[in-house]
Amino acid sequence: MAWVNDVIQGILLGGLYALFAAGLSLIFGVMRLVNLAHGDLSLLAAYAALLIVGPLDINPFLSVFLVMILVAIFGYVLQRGFLNFALEDDPMPTILATFGLSIVIQNLLLEVFSANSMGLDAGAIETQALKITDQISIGWFPLITLVTSVVVLFALQLYLSRTRMGRAFRATSDNQEAAQLMGIDNRHLYGLAMAIALGIVAIAGVFLGIRTTFNPSVGPARLIFAYEAVIIGGLGSVWGTLVGGMLLGVAQTIGAHLDPGWGVLAGHLLFLAVLVLRPRGLFAKQVQA
């Protein structure tokens, strides 16, 4: 029974990882940008929530909407004002630019908020759980996280497959120059992609802040989990990212069950195994260009 519980908790944790990973996958797909600051940007959202819940006297859950909008706007400005200039055929300039951005964000957060751990207090719901059996209970908060994740990914999938801009995203992902020839402004589109990506990761950042404490240095670890979820699921697949996040979550909870120190390691081992056995990921988009 304990193992069943591990799997359930792992799947719930996977919902959070998928929220971290979805934006990463989107911007890599659309503009081949490897965003090394993704984890730190999610922290930026957590600290933004911290700043507004006090003065506005609202529950962190409600702050998500406001933080999402703020971070999305920041993402658009960041892309058009900075990262667009680093985009070339060679991926290296953007890797360096986002690596630098990651360091800048970490140090700014350290300067403003100190290295002390902080948390977002969402009240009683953080600890309440739905008791299934004596050994299995599902926390309301992890459940809300997973449901949010599924809803967000579903909305993203719908946006990409059904709307005019969504088609423009996929066309640009296929061939950027040809997309320009269709009248698609790729600079605006990249800004929009970053806005959506950071809007989603803002939810992840705030939820992480409710789930656990955070300090300015935890961003890079979030980035690694997010990348692992993306690679396991397969690039370019929205639902693959969710499954990738869940598999990573399950591996980590089972690993931690065996030995508290093995949780993160088990996740990494699963990731490496996928890289060896199925380097394109489990649900990679199968299209030969």
Binding site: R170, A171, D174, L181, M182, G183, V287
Partner: protein, 264 residues
């Protein structure tokens, strides 16, 4: 430069296309300028210069064939016109408006569309989605998904298929249809025949008169001279980035074209 009197070009087009001349109503004023004017274009890639002082003009409703050997600068010329390569504002004028520094995506909205060399359809999108993306910045005009299906009936049964799985000829038909979805006033066709069987090329070229009949101005770039010359009102021949021959198909001989083509 040979200036083509719109009225004269009209008769030539009428004979060649066997379709009603759409320009009668459009160019009422004899003072109307050309739809496209390229003046002294000297563009290239980085330190490599591909065009040397190339000038040309195309009137509304006209079909211009740009021919030349590999590396003559034909594709560079089209990229300069569509905005993938940018110049001084006044080097390219569209409907009298200087657009040389405008990016490609904005020129689509003005009515310039390029069907690129190598087709460049969106492989992961379905045929239908490719056409919808083609209409991303569409102007109002005659072309729609239904009308493109009508123009290329072979696309009908492929609408929900991913473009990656299409044959070369099907991809080329899709690429032309996708370009038309923007309702361009000026459609640039780059190497339509490249890598395709002659029978497929002939089928694709059968669509040209119907495109012209909608009033669309065409610039056709080809290495394969025969097809292009047959549908063109005028010919421009490029050699090593320079214009070496201009004229109407009935004014220039095969010998003149081959001489210009090979630079002998």
């Amino acid at each position: 430069m040979i200036h083509v009197d719109p009225a004269e070009a009209g008769t030539a087009a009428g004979v060649l296309n066997a379709s009603p001349d759409p320009r009668g109503g459009v160019q009422t004023s004899p003072m109307a300028g050309s739809l496209l004017e390229v003046e002294g274009a000297s563009t290239g890639y980085g330190s490599f210069q591909a065009l040397f002082d190339v000038s040309l003009r195309v009137d509304e409703g006209e079909t211009l064939a740009v021919i030349g050997a590999n590396g003559a600068g034909k594709s560079t010329l089209l990229k300069t016109i569509c905005g993938l390569l940018r110049t001084d504002d006044n080097t390219v004028r569209f409907d009298g408006r200087p657009i040389g520094s405008l990016p490609a995506h904005k020129r689509v909205g003005l009515g310039i569309s390029l069907v690129p060399e190598g087709r460049l359809v969106f492989p992961s999108l379905t045929v239908y989605e490719n056409l919808l993306v083609g209409g991303h910045s569409r102007r109002t005009g005659p072309w729609s998904v239904d009308k493109v299906r009508d123009l290329f009936p072979l696309l009908n049964r492929l609408m929900n298929k991913q473009a990656a799985h299409l044959s070369g000829g099907e991809q080329q038909a899709l690429a032309i249809g996708r370009g038309l979805m923007a309702n361009p006033r000026l459609l640039l066709l780059d190497e339509v025949s490249l890598g395709l069987a002659p029978i497929v090329v002939a089928e694709l070229y059968r669509a040209i008169p119907r495109i012209v009949a909608e009033g669309t101005t065409l610039i056709i770039v080809e290495q394969d001279i025969g097809q292009a010359v047959a549908v063109a009102d005028r010919i421009v021949c490029l050699l090593e980035g320079r214009v070496v021959l201009r004229g109407r198909p009935d004014e220039v001989t095969r010998e003149q074209i081959s001489a210009a083509y090979f630079g002998v």
